[in-house]
Symmetry: C3
Subunit: 393 residues, 3 copies
């Protein structure tokens, strides 16, 4: 490695890391816009504390668990750390969004400590890191460039465990089987948040190439960002069309979830495809969001932001897609992808379920019905999000 | 071209492209803040779909129409594409903002398909691209670094055609000649949007230099960004002063439109001026906004966001300014600039007018008075932007 | 200096500058969220005009006062200017936020002219610039990488002078010694603004290293950004814990102020510490915010955004911390740091006090009680921030 590579790749990692940190306000705005006004401060508090706790936990413990050593020859070790640190909060953001409007802050923060120091670092360890499973029969041969499985499905499995333990929001499902629609409170924030995520994804996936300092890697980074964007476009468009065909309306929150679904799905292999394949991957990704959101509701898995469909389902789809479409086939097999999905899925779901169950015994994760009725802003934060605006409901 | 140039210019193009994509939420927030709450979801839907459709159209067809070939020796061809792709939605954003609160989504999206695959690519072809007019008497010799004419006036001419066909918002102009003031609904979003646009402009103009990998080009990029910013500052300040002199108040929406006017005006030649000329260009640009907004209203050209003044008028002014002030004069003549303005203006206006008229026959572009009264959020989206906030009007 | 260094450092300065400009909407959103709805447009106008006036003043006069010459061998002189220009508005933003809800626009803009052309450039001159005190007994030997003292305390001292002259908001302190709590009006904007500031800080501190084009400087930049982030994390966490212990609630506005306090405190020497020291610096920084906010209120120094605690107190603490913790000790002494704090503090406070007093004679800085009751949006801007939302208070 020459100084040139070291310098340029350090700069590039810092650029990519900065874009990923833009996803912190991205998730915060998206979720603040999707929940009711009485839970907005709580959601924002959770997002802020997740960033603080998860990053600190990864600095003090998690990074070493994942990679064994901080040494790095290819770029500044501090830049390499920062890039990886930028990921860790996302896993818990994915999970926290889906249990918003009824989850209590402190037990969720306990879970954040464990995910950032242990659970997520173990997933990284066996996927991208030191790999303590190497040579065993569990040795994974999954290709997952930027984390369709490692980040998104892991967060999605944790969310599924959390929803099963915490249950739906008060009054979401009535006894006679109806579903009460709970509208998003602030659509501009939803759009702002979704586009901050979209832009952050360029750093997420582009930066995961790991280098831009050769002609080949510069091409790969550019192709990665192009394909990332294309899958997002396709996901948005297919949901716009499908939604319009069904309802004769354009539901902007679903369209954006379609885009995010496409972005999750491309994340496993944006560097492997030609420039048209991401259209297929994004179309399937968006369609899965449109299809799965009502199905999860049928199973009474209450997910106010659609994170199960966006992150869990599309994390799986994206990882499979690499096995189906990837052209540079050396090591990549469909079976290797499936094995990775299963091993990490089982580990993430079971360990999350156990940890959350234990936390739930210590202090309930679920806010009481009274607290939910009044809104978590009151019970958790003592702060209204919009105290001056008269409420119509 | 050495590998060094290729790598650095690819990285730089990706940086610049990312900044331009920041303009997508920029336009969305600006317009969402300027319209009434009952039309906010519709405006956000339009902005999101424009990004999705225009980018996809440019990927599949438009880029080839504009440039003939994807080959690029100077940087990764994917980065070169991404940078150009980031521009295309802007043209339609400019147009869509000015017809908001009464335009229907589907016919506007039809127009977006045509602009992104054909109309805008033809403008690029004869200005920056393959140039099928080369050698004919229409061969343009216009200097337009980042698109005062190619982007902003083109969008502005399309908007003028659209306003003429669609007409003003219901109840905007009364029969006795009065103008009903329709106040912006969310000023923080306007400010946020304007600054996201401003920051995106650094990538827009800086990236248009095309290279940062030599000492000279690094200087040119830095000068371009400096001059871009200065024109924005001057545009804001002159409107603040003029507005205060007239009304003894500071109208923040007009001040920001002044800044945007200055930014549009500098866009044709930020690389050509010394560091003081942009002050003049921005002052004239801001003054034109202050002057023209009421004049367009007098002609009953209803433009809720001031896009005609900001983009069309200042696009023309900025392109002329290159002919007036540019110091590196080789090829640049005032006549060349005027010819470019006229040729592209005629093409953009006439083709937009014809296409929009045809679309309007197929399905009306204008929402009915009832739909406008109820708000487009209801008829187009079925989603209120702020369902919990009691409305005072 | 080779061309390589020149090119890469120009690119890096432009990247860092762009991040700092993100702090303009950052401050605007933070402050717009913290004040009452009736003062939101005024706050946004002030933030916008500060950026316009301060940047223009620095371009025309201030930069030359600070550095003597525009020449620069290490990077494009335009990029070097842009990076420094991005700082100047911050000093006045810090000050304007703390007097919001009662300061009038025009006299504040007069002060902005003087700060950006003279007061702040003199502070820079003796700290980072041409240094006209060199060789005198006042010659400073303070280490202040990115401006804990030069930016944050300077702004904080100006704010203290302004608060003393302008007084508290109408009705903030009652005659019987009670403090009326005035709640923030829009919490999502507060969070968005705080994170835009946080992200901007990476450019603020990282860019202040001045170069990324050698292996050593690339390491220093990465370490600087890592340490910057860590101090922010620690500041947020300590306030979350302390606040919860006292009130059993999580006050998100205080948590974010804790983060900002940590960020201010690390700013003097993020390049000097190992990766754990910033945790201590951030913890103290956050604790100082938690401690000082009520103390300033006891002294009836009314500061709606907590800027005295965040910027003044932590600017001092951060500058001292370099003297206490810095490992590369060559030139750095605790006494040198204290001397810098005192000299710049005296200069900034006294000159601000005199200038503001003179301005106050010419035209009162303070809005009348009637204007405050009605809201500054009405008297200064003639524009409501949220005209359609019914107010509950």
């Amino acid at each position: 490695m020459s100084d040139f590579n070291y310098i340029i790749d350090t700069f590039f990692a810092l650029f990519a890391m900065t874009l990923i940190i833009v996803m912190v306000p991205g998730f915060a705005m998206l979720e603040a816009g999707l929940v009711r006004t009485k839970n907005v401060s709580a959601v924002l508090t959770v997002n802020t504390l997740i960033y603080a706790i998860a990053s600190m936990g990864f600095l003090l413990i998690g990074y070493t668990v994942a990679f064994g050593s901080w040494d790095n020859d290819n770029m500044s070790k501090w830049a390499a750390f920062l890039f990886q640190m930028a990921f860790v909060g996302k896993v818990i953001n994915i999970m926290s969004g889906g249990v918003s409007e009824r989850v209590k802050v402190i037990p969720l923060m306990l879970f954040t400590v464990i995910v950032s120091t242990l659970l997520y670092p173990i997933v990284v360890n066996i996927s991208w890191g030191a790999d303590f499973l190497k040579g065993t029969f569990l040795d994974l041969h999954m290709y997952d460039l930027a984390g369709s499985t490692v980040i998104h499905s892991t967060g999605g499995w944790a969310l599924l465990a959390a929803i099963m333990i915490i249950g739906p929001r008060r009054n979401r499902y009535t006894k006679d089987g109806k579903i009460n629609v709970i509208p998003a409170s602030n659509i501009p924030l939803v759009v702002l948040g979704a586009f901050l995520l979209w832009i952050g994804w360029f750093g997420f996936n582009g930066g995961s190439v790991g280098s831009i300092s050769s002609k080949e890697s510069a091409d790969t980074v550019a192709l990665t960002i192009l394909n990332t964007n294309t899958a997002g476009l396709a996901g948005a468009l297919v949901v716009a069309v499908l939604g319009y065909l069904r309802y004769k309306k354009f539901d902007i929150t679903m369209i954006l979830n379609g885009a995010l679904g496409g972005l999750v799905a491309i994340t496993a292999g944006p560097d492997l495809y030609d420039i048209y394949t991401p259209i297929i991957i994004g179309i399937v990704g968006g369609a899965l969001v449109e299809l799965m959101v009502p199905i999860f509701d049928k199973f009474r898995l209450d997910d106010p932001v659609g994170a199960l469909s966006v992150h869990l389902v599309n994390g799986i789809w994206g990882t499979l897609a690499v096995g189906i479409f990837a052209s540079n086939g050396d090591d990549i097999t469909l079976w290797g992808q499936i094995k990775g999905i299963i091993v990490i899925g089982l580990f993430a779901f079971i360990s999350s379920y156990i940890i959350l169950s234990i936390i739930n015994k210590l202090m309930p994760l679920r806010a009481t019905d009274e607290e939910q009725l009044e809104g978590l802003d009151y019970s958790e934060c003592g702060i209204e999000a919009y105290p001056e605006f008269k409420k119509s409901i």
